[in-house]
Subunit: 386 residues, 2 copies
Amino acid sequence: MGGTEVDGYERLEDLARRPTIGMVAARAGVSRQTVSNAVNAPSRLRPETLAAVQVAIDELGYRPNQAARTLRTQATRVIGCRLLPSNYGGTGGVLDRLLHALCDTARSNGYDLLTFSTRDDDDEIEVYDDLLRRHAVDGFVLTNTHHGDARPDWLLERGARFVAFGRPWGRRGAQHSWIDVDGAKGTAAAVSHLAALGHTRIGFLGWPPGIGVADDRLAGWERQSRQFGFNTRGLLAQAEDGIASGRALAEELLSSSRPPTALVCVSDAIAIGALRAIEDRGWQAGQEVSVVGFDDSPVASVIRPGLSSLRQPVEAVANQLVETLLTVISGAPARPVRTLLAPRLVVRDSSGERRHRSPGVTASILKRQSQPGTMRPGTTRKEELA
Amino acid sequence: MGGTEVDGYERLEDLARRPTIGMVAARAGVSRQTVSNAVNAPSRLRPETLAAVQVAIDELGYRPNQAARTLRTQATRVIGCRLLPSNYGGTGGVLDRLLHALCDTARSNGYDLLTFSTRDDDDEIEVYDDLLRRHAVDGFVLTNTHHGDARPDWLLERGARFVAFGRPWGRRGAQHSWIDVDGAKGTAAAVSHLAALGHTRIGFLGWPPGIGVADDRLAGWERQSRQFGFNTRGLLAQAEDGIASGRALAEELLSSSRPPTALVCVSDAIAIGALRAIEDRGWQAGQEVSVVGFDDSPVASVIRPGLSSLRQPVEAVANQLVETLLTVISGAPARPVRTLLAPRLVVRDSSGERRHRSPGVTASILKRQSQPGTMRPGTTRKEELA
DNA sequence: CCGAGTCTTTGGATCGTTCATATGAACGAT
DNA sequence: ATCGTTCATATGAACGATCCAAAGACTCGG
């Protein structure tokens, strides 16, 4: 048993010569094509035949040779994706999480993920070129899109298949598909949440303007504050990412004549800096001043007090990216997919229930919130307090 | 020009039908094999022929189809590697850096990196199995080896090619090749460095025993301390990784009857916690108490005071891993490669020159440092105390 | 019992490359 | 001029899968 095979095929155990479709066919007593159908279109086979083939497949441990398959079908079933340092540009581990999610999603869709590391965009385009010419991938997932990004145009002109994580900043009618997280919606939700806690002077610690993500997150704070009728003047401070930077920004606003009682931050690093500034004053974050960060980086849940933060729905993003890319690969869709997903606010102690608050302010705030429209957390909140 | 081709081949610009070796051969007026030789063994061609073929290759932008190549040569030129969360188990971004370095090294050796994400080792073995059966990779790089690791045995039995980053903990005569960083050498260097600064009571904040990496780093501190004649009793504290954890451990040692004046830490997270504990006491890290961390995570250089830390030579590790793996792939070497690389101590303010120190000590210390040779500050120190 | 129609299975050709082998050219020595 | 030797290039056959067109098996009404 299990020794030599029908038709003169070698031993099962011979690893050097791994099973081919021909061996499976011989063992099951059918033709190669039938085995192929069993794998790729089982419905075409009569149940008994399928079962018999399946037995042979299992016994031999057969799986189609990827190279042979690729050669014939012209589909590699591989997705290329640039690898970015996980601590890249204040993304708080989001790209790291995305990469994992992409691996999982790709694999469960029968695709492999090929990663490469590049210094800059030009370098990246060179790698694209290489991979495309060698037929090593079916398509790409782009990350970290930005103003003046040369990659999408290059890929489009080339006729390559790809999807971007990130909007085509500064381009209205980009012809490619993309998925992104709605930063403005996130910071708006943060404002609503803080308003529901009774805050009326809500500041924003942002990155310098000009970068898409920075402007987006800023816009949400501004829009929602205005909608609530809150002042925004003198409540905005901007600087590069970083803990030290956040500390300085927060100190700047907190020491002003009319300081904010809550801070929405463009990143967790900035937010952690803000927490420091609050500690510096001998205050307690979440009490005197509430803080909300962005990206829910791993530290957010570890530090004391826990940092409330906006978590990007990375798994959903990965799903959409892969799903969209597969559609694009299987023949371009009628028109590009453009999807914005909402981040989710994870509330922790840095913006939790306040123990001490002035009753008057609370009441008036809650009145506003009961106005119809967007916000809900306040409404329920109000009833409970009344 | 550049329109239709000799021999009825399609237009150059036709991307759907990318150039094949046949088209290049036709254009250069040679046979397929000659083009193949031009690519794979240029020395076999007469210089003029090579030049002519090269022109045709460049004009058409030809690169060998990877799938066809793989099918024929049975070599995928792809390396598989598991993707770990970058904030995994207190590795302080080392695996993240390693992955980047692997990408670079692999690519410059003509290999691609295929990454996959798995929940646990069993899951990982399943992916190995899938990739091997599908002939999708030539070999693997294992990371995060540990006691009772089932992966190496499985791969060996299977006859798969792989190299591990990390020693086969708890296995003397493992039959596979591995590269690792000598943690003990690192912590020993930290002790020497601190001794050179005049410290004689050097504590160690570690992880719970039983894990290879933890024991390794602990051993270096212990060995080197003993060599200098320093006491180690009451200077060791261990707990799980984390900032909070490090803070508690440091507090424990610092509040003891005979507290340490310096702390070597098993990780940067623990070290950062130690810095906090030092601040808590109103002290200044690098002055009253010096601290050295491990892995030189990105935060180490950002925080104030900067954290001295032991940096793993990740690029060198990646180089060795790929080099070794390629050797293994091209036919197993006579015997497994086993390499230990030394980490490099990056000195920052947390263990810099101390401003205030007792003059007597300073003088004697400095005297010793001016002595030639390796570093015996400890020995001298001891004498001086006697 | 036959033939049309449907479902299942088959054999050969093919994807683009490299391997093994064969052929041709060049050269110096006899 | 002949021969062996080396080097450069050409030819046909793989590699292992899927596509294609067509043959075989089966069902069912006439």
